[in-house]
Each structure stands twice: as structure tokens, then as C-alpha cells.
Amino acid sequence: MPDSGAVLARKPALDVDKIRKDFPVLSRTINGKPLIYLDNAATTQKPWSVINRRFKFESEEYGTVRRGAYKLSERSTQLYEESRRKVADFLGAASKEEIVFTSGTTQSINLVAYSFGRRFVNAGDEVVISNIEHHANTVPWQVLCEEKGAVLKVIPVNDDGELIMTEYDKLLSKKTRLVAVNHVSNALGTVNPAREIVRKAHAAGAKVLIDGAQSAPHMQIDVRELDCDFYTFSGHKMYGPSGVGGLYGKMEVLETMPPYVTGGDMIVHVTLEKTTYAKPPSRFEAGTPPISQVIGLGTAIDYLNGIGMDKIGEYEHSLLEYGTRLLRDIPGLRIIGTARDKASIISFYLDAAHPHDVVTILDQDGIALRGGHHCAQPTMKRFGVPATARASMSFYNKYEELDALAASIRRTIKIFS
């Protein structure tokens, strides 16, 4: 998978009107206006197939997984493991055992910070993150470093919101244990050069976590080609249920890691004196997992595969280009995040109105987008704004919706000027 390379805007590669019928919420109105949902970087809407799959599972097939010897439990276990296979194939993992189900990206990163971090990061060691991480990929490393007496290093970004790779080179050394960066910035949309980041970190002897919360829903991912040691994702950002996500880890790395949460299902043998841990992924899946959510996630992946990630990426890029052109022409609007390689996220700041006022006015027009610091306060500080408004597009969005967004922004400016 290429890290960069602009995809040219073309005629829609997708039948968007047909796709929109798959998402029931998209036909509702907000404040009497058709819903225009542009907060896809926060969470995505669900297609009928996911909704129906979970309904069927919970009404006809539901049982516990990995422990019952009766039909319902066997069937649930089979479906649960099929989902793991689907995720593994979707990400290009070598085996399905390299996929650990978690509650989402935040828990996946915490799993690595607690399990890998507590075992392999020691006093004087260094962990590298970037200046454009969300808090989920910042705070766990701060806590780890504080606890271990390790040092957190931060890759700076330029004014376009791109990582300064020459500075990254300088941060790497024999002391570097782990590099943890996002694939796509949730606040700016920057697509980071993940392969290059991984290659350089490995050359320094460090492991790499790629936070894929914002990349998995929008581009073809191949973890083996990226060669990352860990890759994290959230189901609810890829048209699946909330409450489920996952961690990909190279088997040889996962095998070296102790459990993170302990309890049932992650053991081979328990006596009162000693417990033998199960192999990955079970070692990291203590307790009863979110079964229905995992199965819904598998269905969401089927849905994405049915459209094709290449087509999704191409169409979303054309939305990004179209939206960027529209917004750039609005006087008093500043786009925050102008990297050459971007995912379909446009963060902006208006001279005339605070982002929270912007989203309140836009909501009156039925337009849902996020205003705030996007759980990325260090990023906001870097660009000298308290917050931004952010439009994040999905393959179910239309050009006309971006026209409506631009009109609504112009109306907002008029109100506050």
C-alpha cells in the first residue's frame, strides 16, 4: 500500500445513492432538514447488514463463546472466530491469531502500553510519538514513561501538519524502545508515511505501533507490507458496532508479552499457586468478550469489501478535494492541516466564530460535524487555535452535502460578523 500518491478526483467511482439506502439513519431529518452527517472521524453510521446481522444473532444464535459444548455456544464461537478471520484478512495479517479483540483503539494502545511497555521499557529508555496524536496515543505513553523513568520524545510537525522526518531521524537511537504514531491524524487528516516510519524505527532496533483508527476505514491496509509490530483500530469508526475494536500484533511479539487484563479465558491451567497463560490472542481476551459486536464487525468488513477499499479511498479523496476547494474560497476561513497526503478530513477555523458556535449553527441546518479539540490538545496548541470545526467525509457523503456545508458556513459568518 503506498503511503503517498494523490488520487486524482474523478467522476464518482461509486453509486452513492444506492449506498445511502444501506444506511437507514441517512434518510432522517434533523431540525426539519435532511441529515448531513460529516462526523465520520468520530464515529460512523451503521448499514442495515450490520444492524440485521446483530439482530439475527441475538435473536436466534446467541450463546457464550469458547466454553460451552452445546449448539448455541459452538455456533457463537464459530461466528466469533470467523470474524477474527475476516479482520485478519482485511488487515493482511499472517494469521488470525495475530488479531486480539478489544473495546477499541484506546484499549488496544493501553494493552500495548501496559503489557509490552511494562515488560520492555525501562528507566532511561525512550518512546517516540508525534505532535499530532490523539490523547489515546499520548496519555498511555506519558503514564508509562513517568512510571518507568523513561523519556517521551515527540516528532514535530511543519505548518502543513506533516511530520518533519529529518527530526524523526534525530530522535531515533539505541535507547528507542517503541515508536507509536497514527497512520492518519484525526484532527488534521494528515496521512503519515507509515512504512518509512517503521523502516527507520526497525533500523534503530525499536518496535512500532501504528494507530489505525482513522486509516482502517478509508484505505487498503496491509500490515505485513507496513511491517508494523502493532496496528490498532476501532470497529465503530469502520461502520461496525461501538464497543469493539482490535489490536494486530506480530505473533513473535505478542508471544513475548504478558497478559494485560487477567481472569477467565486467558489461561491454560490455574492452581492456587500458579497460572499458565494461554497463547495469543486468548492471552489478551480475558472474560466474556463483546460477542455480538465482534460478529457485527465481521459483517461491517464484509460490507466494506463489497464496495472495495480502493474505490472507497478514491471516492473519499475526490470528496476531500471538492470540499477543500469549496472551503478554501470562503473569506475568513482557515484550513488547519494542509498536508500533501490527506484523508477525507477538513479541519477549519473561522475568524468570525468559535468552532462551538459554528457547529451549533450548522446543526440547525441538519449538518453534523465536530467542533472542539478532537482529543488532540497538543495538536491544537501547535496550530495556535483553541479548537477547530471538523468535517470528516465518508463514502456515503455526496458533493451536494459539501455544497450545503459551504453555504451554511457562509451563513454562520454572516450571523457573527
Partner: protein, 151 residues
């Protein structure tokens, strides 16, 4: 008397554009810093209270959304000349009004123009914007050195 549930009324927009008493107060007897970590609204409220507990002067500085700025501005206008005890009563009425627990249309009140903020109750995510300056004012009166945060 009926009140509007519209959020951005002309008076609010006007106070956002031209906030009143928007200045530091070097000789303040009371001041406090207020911060909303969710949206970054960041204000400081200053009071000059005389020996009879009358607020002789009140001002604010900082940055925030239109609702928080207009609310701060209208608060300063409303509290000047009031006694501390009265300002606490007004705080209570204002706070309950924006939470939807007090209807100034049905009860006697001391809110005056502040009823313009009645519409905030329809926007739960904006209640903290409207009430930040008020909490900060109370924090100043109570000499909260550590400041106020909404979270």
C-alpha cells in the same frame, strides 16, 4: 411575559462582538480563573468589592465562544452595584434557568436581561458555555486560588 428559546439573539451577538467590561482590573479585591477543558473556553473574572459588600466594579478577560463571551459580558453589566448576597441569588437563578430547573416566566426573579439565555436549556452541550463566567465569579468571591474548571 414570554421568553424566546432562540440561542443566538441579537443582544447576545452584540455582546459577543463588543463585550462590555472586557479588561483586566489591577486593583481587584477578588479574581478567579475559569477554564472549560472540553472546549478551551478560558476566562478570568475580576471584582472590586467595597467594605459594605457592594460590587463596585466587575470585569473579565479571556477567550471563548459567543455564548460564553456574551454571558460574561452581560453578567458584568448586571452585577455592577449589586451586593454579594444578591449576586449569589442571581447566580442561583441563572444557573437553574439554563439547566431548565427554573422558569423566569413563571416565577419572580432578579434576572432582568439575563433571561436572554433561557434558550441555552435547549442546547445541553452549551450550558457550560453560558455558566462558566458565573461559576468563575462565585469562585472569585470564595477566593478559590486554584481556579474553576467545568470538569
Amino acid at each position: 411575559m414570554s421568553y424566546s428559546n432562540e440561542l443566538y439573539q441579537q443582544v447576545i451577538l452584540d455582546h459577543n462582538r463588543k463585550p462590555r467590561n472586557f479588561r483586566e482590573m489591577p486593583n481587584a479585591t477578588h479574581f478567579c480563573h475559569g477554564f472549560n477543558p472540553l472546549c478551551g473556553d478560558d476566562i478570568t473574572v475580576y471584582l472590586d468589592v467595597d467594605k459594605d459588600n457592594v460590587i463596585q466594579d466587575v470585569s473579565f478577560t479571556g477567550s471563548g465562544c459567543a455564548i460564553s463571551k456574551a454571558s460574561s459580558s452581560l453578567m458584568t453589566v448586571h452585577l455592577k452595584g449589586k451586593k454579594i448576597e444578591e449576586s449569589k441569588v442571581i447566580f442561583d437563578e441563572f444557573h437553574k434557568m439554563v439547566l431548565g430547573e427554573f422558569d423566569p416566566g413563571k416565577s419572580e426573579n432578579h434576572l432582568g436581561k439575563l433571561t436572554l439565555f433561557m434558550g441555552v436549556r435547549e442546547f445541553p452541550s452549551r450550558i457550560k458555555c453560558a455558566s462558566l463566567s458565573w461559576h468563575t465569579m462565585i469562585g472569585a468571591l470564595e477566593k478559590k486560588a486554584e481556579g474553576i474548571t467545568t470538569e
